[in-house]
Structure formats: C-alpha cells, structure tokens
Amino acid sequence: MADTQINIEQIRSDFEILNQKVNGHQLVYFDNAASTQKPKVVSAAIADFYNNEYSNIHRGVHHFSELGTEKFEAVRGQVKHFLNAKYLEEIIFTSGTTASINLVADCFARDVLQKGDQVVISHLEHHSNIVPWQMACEKSGAELKVIGMTSSGELDYSDFEKLLNDKVKIIAINHVSNALGTINDIEKIISQAKALNIPVLIDGAQAVAHLKVDIQALGADFYCFSAHKLFGPTGVGVLYGKKEWLERLNPYMGGGDMINEVRFEKTTYNDLPHKFEAGTPNIAGVIGFGKALEYVSQISIENIKQAEAHLLDYATKKLSEIGDLEIKGVSDKKAAVISFVVNGLHPYDIGTLLNQYGIAVRTGHHCTQPIMEYFNISGTVRASFSFYNTTQEIDFFVEKLQKVIQMLK
C-alpha cells in the first residue's frame, strides 16, 4: 500500500465498525487514545466462548472448567511473551490500568510507605496515575512530589533529578502521555531510580498499542495497561510486577482464588499470581484479549509503529498549516496523538461540529487537568490515530476542521 508496509484494505476489513456511517458520513475514528477498536476475531472469540464452552474456571474437574482454565492461563503466557517478562506469575489480571495502579498504590500505602517518605509522579500523568497516589499519601502520611513539565509537553528531567533522594519510595510515570502523545524517556528515569534502589511503576496504558515493550530490558518494577486500548475487550487490565515485589506485598483484595486456607483465626494466601486475583476473573474478556494479542503479533508492533509514525507526521504537517491552530505537545518523540487548540474556540464546539461529519475526536481535559492548567486552557481537541487509520481520513478531517473553524469564528 501507499501508506504503509501493511495491507490497509485487509486490515480495515478486520474492523467492521470502520464501515459504519455517522450522520451520513463514513465514520472517521480518531479517538484511539480513549480506546481502540476491536478486530472481529476478538468478539467472535468471546461469543464462541460464551455460546459453546462457557464455565467458571479454576479448580473445576469438569471438561469446560478445565478448558476455560487452560485458555485463560494461556493468555497469561501470551502477555508474558508480549512484555517479555521473566516469570509467568509476574502477570496479574485486573479490570484495567486504573485498577492495576490502585492495587500497587494501596499495597504500597499499607506495606511500604511511612510518614516522611515521598512518592514521585509527574505533571504529565493521567488522573488514574495521580489520584491513587494522593490517596496512598493520605493513608500513609507520605508526601507527593511532582516532576515538572516543559512547554513542549515533555518531562523536566533536570527537575526529576532534583527530586531524587532516599526518601523516595516509588516513582510512578506514564510511558506515553495520553493528552499530548509525548513518549517519556522512562529508560533514563528507571536507570536513575535504580541507582538509588527506588522502584518504578510505569503507566503503559498509552504505550502498549504503539511501541514494543521489553520489560526485562526496561527493568521497570511495575507496568500497567488496559486491554481495551490494545484492541482487546473492556474490563481487562494487566499488572506486571517484578516477582520480588509481588511476593513482598500483601494481597489487595480478599476472596475466592487468592487464598490457600481460610480459617476465622488465620487465613493464608495463595501463591502468585492468584494471590492478587481475588474472585471470578473476567474470563471471557481475558480470552478475547488473547485473540487481540494474537492479532497484534500477526501485524507486528513494528509495522504498527511505522504506520502510525507516518500518520502522525502527515497530520502534524497538515494541521500546522491551519492558522490560529496550536498543537499542544511538540516533543520529537511522540505517539500518534495530536492535541490542539484553535485560538478563541472551545474544543467542545469543534468536537460537536466534527461529529456532524462523522469524525470522532475527543475534546476536554482528557483526564489530565494538571496539563490543561499548565497551558492555562480548559481543554484541547485530540485526534489520536491507530494503524487502521489512513491519510485520506486525515485529509477529510483537516478539510472539515477548517470548515468548522470558519463556522465558529
């Protein structure tokens, strides 16, 4: 294909929704940072599981319970492979990135953080990587420290270095900013943290669908993401945790599956990974997620990255030609996210009118109010691309955006 290494026609036919019409126009889905679309193999796998093989898993001796357990546990293996984790039991299934981060933050508040300790996050975080740490600090008496940002939408690394000291008990940073697209230099952060023996949690929600993550090479202690942003189902998240850490922390939730022995006097906990997986998991969701991972590995993250880099370049160039339009987040290391404001116009108005042309963008603060406050704006219009998008869609978007701006001026 002209655009990319990948067969875009073929790929687009895997995502049925891309053929939908919205307000009389073919859907242009540029809200991929909020959630990606799903190839039809994902919903087919879920439907097939429910209709032909469903059962609760773990400890059942009957056929479908065994089969389900096998399929469920096989996905754990796929995730391990996807992240290149060392041990299977380092992969914990949760209900989403937010749940993964809360799990770690709450366990740290209880098992690690003490009054006087510090937790370091950044100004670029999603609320899901801010609020859990505020709550953890409130519970433990630790103090929240925030790495500053620069006007290009990058972390202020010199500020980070100043914040490093031995009171810091954990650093929690996103890999890729959802609001601006900035790819943070987490390698640098992790290596500097390692030097002081400080564990690092990476919020990878925006990274996994766009770039290869090799957790052993990275050396992160925790890595969190959601299946729904990686072409998989809603209600499924992953917490990767280094074995030493997961062993050291006590369970987060109590319930079925996470115990070894329950006595009213004393309960003992199950081994990893089950220790952190209380209750019936999202079985069908995880199995669907396995299909999504299979799909991604067929396309290959490398191809996805290339296709998206092309879309990002193309769109950035086109949008830069529009007067009064200012892109927020101009790092030269970016995922395929473009946030922008148009002088004097409200993002809500722009988004509403673009929707009339079947164009789906996100508007608002993108759950990153501190970034908005930094730029002194109420929100941005955010167009975020995935490998199934095309330059033709970008052309259409840019054309209609200009029309919309005219209407609003």
Partner: protein, 137 residues
C-alpha cells in the same frame, strides 16, 4: 409576555426553516454570539454549573413573581442553547417554569445536547432553573 408554549412554538417554527444541520448550528452559534455577555461579577463559583466539557454560569432573579435568568457558557454551541432556554423560561411565573416540559429541544433536534452524558452543564442548568422557580413559588 408570551407563554412558554408560545415561545416554544415560535422557536420550533424558526428551526423549521433550516434545510440541514449546518444552517441549524450556524443559527445556534449566532444565538450564542448574540447572547448578552454575562457580567464578570456573576461568573462566580456559586453560579457555575458543573459540567466538565463546557461550563455554564447562571443567575436568577425574582421580580414580583416573574423570574429572570441570566446565563453564559464558555462554549458557543452550549451558549446558543442556553440562550434558547433563557428565552423560553425568563420572565415567566414560577409555576409555569416548574411545569415547562421543554419539548422544543427534542423537536428541533437538540436532544443529544441535553443528555446527562454530555457533561456540558445544560442538564444541571435546567435543573437549577426549575429549582429556583420551585423555591419561588
């Protein structure tokens, strides 16, 4: 003063003139632009109607049993719709405001903007308007 029903009918008639959504939105945007700017003194935290997408400010005043609303929004489309609501509900008797079905919103095709999911503050604004009227019955 015309009744709420009359004003609603008037608005419906105005919108019947439009052939497509673009004319309609252009009109709403114009209404938004024309709406008297709310004096900064009223743009207080108290008058702010929550809504994380666009913000709405609303003040209400009761003069001899006739209620006047003044409102504003930071988004133009929201402001246009605000201006329609103010036009319909202002200078009416409290009971009429409380009872107003506000069907015109659906008829002129703006229902989506009034969904609680929009987070544009309009639903809360209507609630506040009616609550004020109720308190002034």
């Amino acid at each position: 003063m015309a009744s709420i029903q009359d004003i609603e009918a008037e608005i419906i008639e105005e919108f019947e003139l439009f052939d497509d959504w673009m004319q309609k939105y252009e009109y709403i945007i114009d209404l938004g632009k024309e709406l008297a700017v709310l004096d900064e003194q009223y743009k207080t935290e108290d008058n702010l109607v929550k809504g994380c997408q666009s913000r709405v400010w609303l003040t209400s005043q009761n003069t001899n049993g006739s209620i006047e609303f003044l409102a504003d929004s930071d988004a133009l489309i929201t402001k246009g719709i605000v201006s329609l609501l103010v036009r319909v509900l202002s200078n009416q008797a409290p009971q009429a405001i409380v009872d107003a079905p506000l069907n015109f919103i659906e008829t002129i095709g703006l229902k989506a903007h009034l969904s609680p999911n929009r987070a544009n503050g309009l639903v809360s604004m209507i609630k506040k308007m009616k609550a004020y009227a109720l308190a002034n019955l």
